[in-house]
Symmetry: C2
Subunit: 192 residues, 2 copies
Amino acid sequence: MAAEQQNVIHNTKKQIIKTARKLFSKYTYLGVSMSDIAKKLHITKPALYYHFTGKAEIYKKVLDDAFNGFSLSIAEAAKEKTGSRKLYKVIKNYLDFGLKEKNLIDALMLKLSPADPQIRKQIIQIKKQIVNLIQPIVEEAFADSKLKNKIDIEMVTLLLISTMNGLLLEYSMLKEKIDTEKISKQIITVLF
Amino acid sequence: MAAEQQNVIHNTKKQIIKTARKLFSKYTYLGVSMSDIAKKLHITKPALYYHFTGKAEIYKKVLDDAFNGFSLSIAEAAKEKTGSRKLYKVIKNYLDFGLKEKNLIDALMLKLSPADPQIRKQIIQIKKQIVNLIQPIVEEAFADSKLKNKIDIEMVTLLLISTMNGLLLEYSMLKEKIDTEKISKQIITVLF
DNA sequence: TAATTTACTTACCGTTCAGTAAGTAACCTT
DNA sequence: AAGGTTACTTACTGAACGGTAAGTAAATTA
């Protein structure tokens, strides 16, 4: 049987994704070369091509991985009791997650230069899923607000997501510390 | 005299900056090569090195150019009469400018990979100047708001700028049209 | 134990990039 | 008219990149 062998393959593959995820998160897609990934794993570059078809495939898997973690983090926020508490937690968890996984935010916001069309498709897919996760929570939070009839929920959701992405890029550039709790509270204050 | 000659130099230099500005705005710093710039001008690459010391210097001049245009656009907004009208105009002009000069927004938000430290310095400088342009207008707009004592003007300014940058990156990725008037009004509605 | 598959390595290819050395036609100065 | 400057071009370098061809030691299968 190939069970044990497959386990080995699996582990190496997982290691590659894990390492690539860290590197892509610290730098950018274009800023990380296949050699960089290989070097960090103490293997050679062609070994990567044994496990994956190329750089794009590795990146795709990294994005999948990161988005799964993100979904869990948002799902957890939705467990709060009131609408505005939920929204507060979503904002805070989004920011906390984004700080650790700069890679995902980068992917959602930045061009990959001669963008691989498949990756582009995947990213657009992820963006839609994020909206789908967050929009109901925004809606619930505004359900009993005075603003309810003056706002376009879809647009406010977009504004909120853009604000968080903008903040994360802002803080990933300047390397100041970010108090996600304070910022999340301030956003809630301004919104209600 | 070298007056006419200098004029020729000046014009070519200006042409290079103008062309580079367009290209950097359509793609990114790393996505535009010296050859690309030269080709678009129907000159050869080394001709660029006759006028500038390298790619970084060209980019620096492009950023200067773009920021000057931006400042004018914000100064114009400050001519409005009421505080909230000023803020509305700032938001709208910021978004309109950013749509045309994606390059500037990119620079403010994205890494340049092996970031040239001089360019980094310049970008941080520009970011500060933008805050200095916008913060007084935010302050004025909130002067007679109920929220006045509940908010941190500095943080709200940061939030606003992040929101606009986030929006601009969002829309530069998806190539949908953006109704800057509607968005600006929605932001003002949410804020007051 | 012989054949096969797995998980790699060494050595290399083609391309693209920023940047440079050396030459040159047109113009200006003296 | 000679010499110098300006504004380039042609031809090139060296490094980095994604990716591949060919070989190989160790483990698995038959």
